[in-house]
Amino acid sequence: MRFLTLFIIHLQRQLQTEMQYRTNLVVGLISQLTFTLLSVAFVGTFLKYGVSINGWSFWEMVFLFGMGDMTFGLSAIFVFRTFLIFDSRYIIEGQLDQLLVQPLHPLANLIFRNLDVTNLMVVLKGVLIVCIASGSLSLSWNFLKLTAFLVLTLGGALMYAGIYVFFCSLGFWWPRRTSFAWPILSLNYLTQYPLSIYPEGLQFFLSFIIPLGFAAFYPAQAFLGIHPGPRGYWIPFFVIPVAAALVWGVSWTVFRLGLDNYQSSGT
């Protein structure tokens, strides 16, 4: 309950700040839509109507983009800003010291202080794209399907958050000015296409080493019921939230170990 209250207070403060710059929010949404236009235009140019690649049609890939935006946007609201600045600001400049003397777990404190509500635009964009794609795919929605979709989306977001916290935590042992965020984002671009187009080694890497595939691709594949073909992996629906919880648990443990290992820079 205390966590929830603190979260709401931080969220309110963040929203008040952002609402001072309303134009910025609108521009943010436009730029996000333009970014998706790039991916959709690329895929749409090559994947004409009626053509599919490894069982994925154009609109199914658009659905994947939308779901990816929703899971990424949700996780980014909570952890992406922390991921960007943790090493330089909290480890190298020593601002973590301040959090250690406060009566709240440092990870929760980090997340609350660095909430980024502008990523709500990415979630909204994702919802819009999923609605358009689902209309074009003539998907029928009912209560059960909607619940499944929400569970998969939350599982995907938790997976992203877990992966980001894990790479953040490496800063305790290997502090750097440059965040791991950019190479991880580059890897993430790979998961906006069906993983089954990649060689088996790369599929395995994106599924079980850095499991970014669980953040959007496998949830979309499970939801749409697309057969992965002989080269792809089929991950059942219920495994996705379990895997996400597992990765989050590992990341949490690594963060705690890192905290034990932390030596203040003394600044």
Partner: protein, 271 residues
């Protein structure tokens, strides 16, 4: 008079040297950026490869041509995309522009010198190693056409300076309108679409291709890449160089005018 010119030239060269030293100082950044572009390219590669495997590739572009187009295109992007717009708009927003204007050097030339020095450093530090990496990984799928290299380099130079002028134009607009990271990013995304970096312009629907054909953006990526692939019709090739240079001159003049007008009205308060 002559010694003053020499002294100014030395000043510009020193700025270029500092820009390269700063670039080399952050080695982790070098590794991260060096890895990020080829990683992003893998998605393109395997998507197109899968498409051709199923026999659905575009008929006017064989797979090796298409992959060469994209790998060279992203190499050019590594050289061209230096964030001149963001650094200029941030200087304007924070008032740091005053310090730059106090120097006994021309602001545009200073930025152009930095752009050229960093362009050379990025070519050697990012672009050529990335290209070598891609060639190593995907050599059977890439086209090597040494006979077209000279033409490619000439159009690369046109694209390079045109890219500088476009980034400078977006940056200088910060004197007149609100400019921030989001707006600058959106404009960059649109330029990527209009310049043929994401999709070769001749694969767009005909009316889109015709509209983009009259704009200057195609000289950034589409024209140099088509020149390398040797697939630009002769009639277009003859016109391409003078028209590309004319666009560069027009943007150069526009930027000079906008900067001159802005600086006449500029008032910076504070210490």
């Amino acid at each position: 008079m002559f010694s003053a010119k020499i002294s100014r030239a030395t000043g510009y060269l020193a700025l270029g040297r500092v820009a390269v030293l700063e670039f080399l100082a952050y080695r982790a950044n070098l590794v991260v950026e060096f890895l990020s572009y080829p990683l992003a390219f893998l998605g393109y590669f395997f998507f197109l490869h899968g498409l051709f495997l199923f026999g659905h590739g575009p008929q006017n572009y064989p797979l090796p041509e298409l992959l060469t187009y994209f790998s060279l295109g992203w190499m050019l992007r590594m050289i061209f995309h230096q964030g001149v717009d963001l650094s200029l708009s941030s200087m304007i927003a924070t008032g740091q522009i005053a310090q730059e204007l106090l120097r006994p050097l021309d602001l545009r030339l200073m930025m152009a010198t930095r752009f050229a020095s960093l362009g050379a450093a990025r070519l050697l530090g990012y672009a050529l190693p990335s290209l070598a990496l891609l060639a190593l990984l995907f050599s059977p799928f890439l086209v090597w056409l040494p006979e077209n290299l000279l033409g490619f380099v000439i159009f690369l130079a046109v694209g390079f300076w045109l890219s500088f002028e476009l980034q400078f134009l977006i940056g200088v607009l910060a004197f007149y309108v609100t400019m921030n990271y989001q707006i600058s990013w959106t404009l960059d995304l649109l330029i990527r679409l209009a310049s043929g970096l994401i999709i070769p312009l001749d694969l767009y629907p005909p009316w889109v291709a015709r509209s983009l054909d009259i704009l200057p953006f195609k000289y950034l990526y589409f024209i140099p890449l088509k020149v390398y692939l040797g697939s630009l019709p002769a009639s277009d090739l003859i016109l391409a160089l003078p028209v590309g240079l004319a666009w560069w001159l027009a943007l150069w003049a526009l930027n000079r005018l906008l900067l001159h007008r802005a600086l006449k009205q500029l008032a910076i308060l504070g210490s």
